[in-house]
């Protein structure tokens, strides 16, 4: 059952449309994620769900109840939503315990104390209650911000780039921790990020946004392997688009040879298409007939990311374990591992 449902909403300031015709829904207990480059409207969308921005068109429903429409705007404090802000926004004049209990001040003080201690334990910061926010490190402030948002047991938790101000190492471990915590508390959450690793680590469902549009709302696996738009393919993971032509038997003629798959459209013989080729679709195999030349390589720790050039000059990316080194200019064989073809109309450059 969907807890959050957005139906064709527009959000904007004045004449400027920031969020353009977005629809998606999030099931109770799931963690959703909005991905996209900065300025794509994902934070504005989050704020519209929180009730800080009115919608110009469409509707937002929260647990079957209409909360936002052009005619109606339920104020943020009446929505039962929790929010973790990008800069945490802890109240600097209150202690950690006072920050956490801020949203549950109508409860009795013993209830408050119990909840605060429980949350502090959940986020692994027992005994930090009497400290002030400025005495905590960035990662600790992050956890307190999360605990504060969770304290009133919101129906939906919104997280705005929650890990962006932390360093890379902390970011990954915290993302996994937070996911475990949200699952434990059975919280439905929606987070905004521009970091796909973070999205993969946390999300059950994710959407890629670009210029205010939601290009695709899918599982992370689907976004990676079945991108619905070449911009999604671009944004998620590495990959190149290889120009090809559809043959009469619904296969695709490419510089890599004749490829076949289930998604080739019918009656499109002779049409030019772009085929998405991910590095993990290609294996370097010196016995293979398909020959290519190494033109660039980048060390990635466990593996090298090679750029190889085919005979006709088109280039591909492929990976190989890093103890398996090739020099620039070396000729290698390529074996294809393309289970399913991802095709886009050729030269499709517009959203």
């Amino acid at each position: 059952m969907s807890l959050l449902k957005l139906d064709q909403i527009d959000v904007g300031f004045g004449n400027q449309v920031i969020v353009d015709d977005v629809s998606f829904s999030l099931d109770a207990g799931d963690i959703g994620c909005l991905l996209g480059p900065s300025g794509c409207g994902k934070t504005t969308l989050l704020r519209a769900i929180a009730g800080f921005e009115p919608v110009l068109r469409g509707s937002i429903e929260l647990g079957q109840r209409l909360v936002s429409s052009p005619a109606q705007l339920v104020p943020p404090e009446k929505r039962g939503i929790g929010m973790v802000f990008q800069d945490f926004a802890l109240f600097p004049h209150l202690t950690v315990a006072e920050n956490i209990s801020f949203g549950i001040r109508q409860q009795t003080s013993s209830e408050q104390r119990k909840r605060v201690n429980q949350l502090l334990e959940h986020v692994g910061l027992e005994g930090y209650g009497p400290r002030y926010p400025h005495q905590l490190s960035g990662g600790q402030q992050q956890r307190i911000a999360l605990a504060r948002a969770l304290a009133p047991r919101p129906r939906l938790l919104l997280l705005d780039e929650p890990f962006s101000s932390l360093d890379a190492e902390l970011r990954e471990s915290l993302a996994t921790e937070v996911r475990a915590l949200l699952k434990k508390e059975e919280i439905t959450a929606l987070l905004v990020t521009h970091d796909q690793q973070e999205a993969f680590a946390m999300a059950d469902k994710a959407g890629v946004m670009y210029h205010g549009r939601m290009l695709q709302w899918d599982t992370p696996y689907g976004l990676y392997h079945r991108p619905a738009h070449h911009l999604v393919a671009d944004f998620i993971g590495h990959g190149v688009l290889l120009r090809g032509a559809v043959t009469h038997d619904q296969r695709v003629q490419t510089p890599l040879g004749l490829l076949h798959g289930d998604h080739v459209p019918n009656n499109s013989e002779g049409e030019a298409v772009d085929v998405l080729v991910r590095p993990d679709d290609i294996v370097i195999d010196d016995d293979s007939e398909r020959r290519a030349k190494i033109v660039a390589k980048g060390f990635r720790g466990a593996h090298y990311l090679y750029t190889v050039a085919l005979e006709d000059g088109s280039q591909l990316l492929c990976m190989a374990p890093s103890h398996h080194q090739y020099e620039l200019g070396h000729e290698v064989g390529l074996k294809l591992n393309l289970d399913h073809l991802v095709l886009f109309p050729a030269g499709y450059c517009d959203t």
Binding site: Q16, G82, F88, A89, D274
Partner: protein, 584 residues
């Protein structure tokens, strides 16, 4: 071999540099001691008084008859002014930051206008407006037909009147600092309150206001320091406080040590305020809720509420600036003969020359101190600069007393020596000339220029110096080609701020000015003291016009900041700038 590369040249050069850097290292503490001299004299005066039985008697006498009254009046004044400036400053700051109503853009800078009025000048205009023959009572009489004495009319020349005047002149300190704090609170803090179940007004009282507390405390202490330092207003209104007491003890009773002792009591009150200010400033550092990216979106007020908000913010502008300014304009237009009088223009010339010279000296000393701190930021040097900037909190009267006594003593030594050696009496070379005045201004206003120059220098990161060196500039070229162009605005700003403050300054000028040397401020004071209020108009008007300059600078800086924060970040970036281009 070129002289630059010879080893002996290099040896001499390094010696010279070492001597220079040693000079720099010692000059900063030396300047600091010199500038703190008046304060040291005050503190010393207190102990001298304690140890001489004669002085103890006078002190006991003072204590019995006057000090308790001074203390009482000063406390009432501070409590009253403190409360009123906090209410006026915080409410106007909040309304103009968090709400949107017609006229709010204008009010944002108009609320700074009262800063252009020295309190004593506002006091003159109100006692003119509210006097028996003033416009207000005339209207009351013509409306009611009552005669003098038949109706009650509040007396402005009273303690309550002084509280009223000082509050409406000084509340912009609170407004300015609190508003900056409100702007810097990221909207996230208020919105976090909303998602945790607070309504818009609740989130102001429970989140916005507590977070701005240190800023409010800073603003109120600054206003209270000005209140303690005020002489013109309380003297004119006949309220006896420490500043008037020092004057009376010095001139009326000819008791310099007694004046010193009163000054030292006043000084200790100032020290307490300074501590409060330091602590609250330090706290406000923690009260930034992370990086504030976007200010909260202002609340759109409904028609009736917008009217209410506008009037609430407009009244302080009206009372603190527009009415007094109109009264001054009226007096000035009325007193045409004053404008045509060459002696008036002589006053203008005196004031301008004095303020310009003081500004130049102050900026040069500030530059020297700030560079010393930048080059060798040792603990000694940093605390020296800190001590040298204490003057902003010290009332002009206290500084004047502290300057006068040592300079007079020194003058008498000089006269003795000179008479013994050459048989000539050179007169009072230091205490009887403009020198004493310039020194007092330096002590009082150095901190303004140190602050401005310091923040200017802070923008020139050392990496800039270093990249200049790498690109082949000598250290002198770095000064002329990198530092000077970058510092120019700060230096001019510092100069202007000191210039205007010197023009407005009254009590120190009154005590220290050479015989028959008059300035605009002194003339306005004398005219008002003689009950020739209208004739004080032209001089006061000139001071207020000059006082408008820093207000304009401030409001420009404020709107630049607001603009930087409102800059739209929505401009859609191009796809190819975001994505790694795919090679296909």
């Amino acid at each position: 071999m070129a002289p630059e590369t010879s080893s002996s040249y290099r040896f001499h050069q390094s010696l010279r540099q070492r001597a220079l850097s040693r000079l720099r290292a010692w000059s900063v503490p030396a300047v600091a001691v010199l500038i703190c001299l008046p304060l040291l004299v005050i503190v010393a005066g207190f102990f001298i008084g304690l140890f001489s039985p004669e002085q103890r008697d006078t002190l006991a006498h003072l204590g019995r008859y006057v000090i308790s009254e001074y203390v009482r009046h000063t406390i009432i004044l501070m409590v009253g002014v403190g409360l009123l400036v906090a209410i006026l400053g915080v409410t106007t700051a909040w309304l103009t930051t968090a709400c949107n109503f017609p006229g709010v853009r204008w009010l944002r800078w108009a609320l700074l206008l009262p800063l252009a009025m020295p309190a004593y000048i506002t006091a003159y205009t109100y006692s003119g407006m509210l006097s028996f023959e003033g416009p207000v009572q005339l209207v009351v009489r013509s409306l009611t037909g009552l005669q003098f004495g038949e109706y009650y009319f509040p007396e402005i020349r009273s303690l309550a009147g002084a509280i009223f005047i000082l509050s409406f002149v000084l509340f912009p300190y609170v407004y300015l600092i609190t508003r900056a704090a409100f702007i810097e609170q990221s909207r996230a803090a208020i919105e976090a309150g909303r998602t945790l179940g607070l309504g818009p007004w609740q989130s102001f009282f429970r989140v916005g206001l507590p977070m701005a507390r240190p800023a409010i405390a800073t603003g109120v202490t600054l206003a209270l320091m000005e209140t303690l330092a005020d002489y013109g207003t309380v003297h004119f209104f006949g309220v006896t406080t420490f500043t008037t007491g020092i004057f009376r003890t010095w001139y009326g009773m000819g008791d310099p040590i007694g004046a010193l002792q009163l000054a030292s009591i006043l000084l200790s009150a100032v020290v307490v305020l300074m501590l409060v200010e330091r602590i609250s400033r330090r706290q406000s550092k923690y009260h930034h809720a992370g990086r504030s990216q976007q200010p909260a979106r202002p609340l759109q007020l409904s028609r009736s509420k917008a009217w209410l908000a506008f009037s609430w913010c407009f009244v302080p502008v009206l009372v603190g600036f527009l009415l007094p300014a109109l009264q001054l304009l009226f007096w000035s237009a009325d007193q045409l003969h004053v404008w045509l009088d060459p002696s008036f223009w002589n006053l203008v010339k005196n004031s301008l020359v004095l303020a310009t010279v003081a500004a130049i000296i102050t900026v040069i000393v500030a530059l020297w101190l700030c560079y010393g701190k930048r080059r060798t930021p040792t603990k000694l040097i940093r605390s020296s600069v800190g001590f040298a900037s204490l003057g902003y909190a010290i009332p002009g009267v206290v500084i004047a007393v502290g300057v006068m006594l040592p300079l007079a003593w020194l003058d008498h030594r000089i006269i003795n020596v000179s008479e013994a050696l050459f048989g000539i009496n050179p007169g009072l070379l230091l205490s009887g000339t403009i020198f004493a005045l310039l020194f007092a201004y330096l002590v009082r206003f150095l901190s303004i220029s140190v602050q401005t120059v310091d923040s200017g220098l802070a923008q020139i990161r050392t990496a800039m110096d270093e990249s200049g060196r790498i690109l082949g500039l000598t250290s002198r070229q770095i000064l002329s080609r990198i530092h000077f162009p970058l510092l120019r605005t700060s230096l001019i700003t510092a100069g202007i701020l000191v210039f205007v403050d010197v023009l407005k300054e009254l009590p120190a000028t009154l005590i220290l000015r050479p015989f028959n040397f008059n300035t605009l401020a002194v003339r306005a004071y004398e005219m008002a003291g003689d009950e020739r209020l209208a004739e004080a108009g032209p001089a006061a008007l000139m001071i207020v016009i000059a006082g408008l300059i820093p207000v304009i600078l401030l409001s420009k800086a404020m709107s630049a900041r607001q603009q930087a924060m409102h800059e739209p970040v929505m401009a859609a970036p191009k796809a190819e700038e975001i994505y790694e281009p795919v090679k296909a």
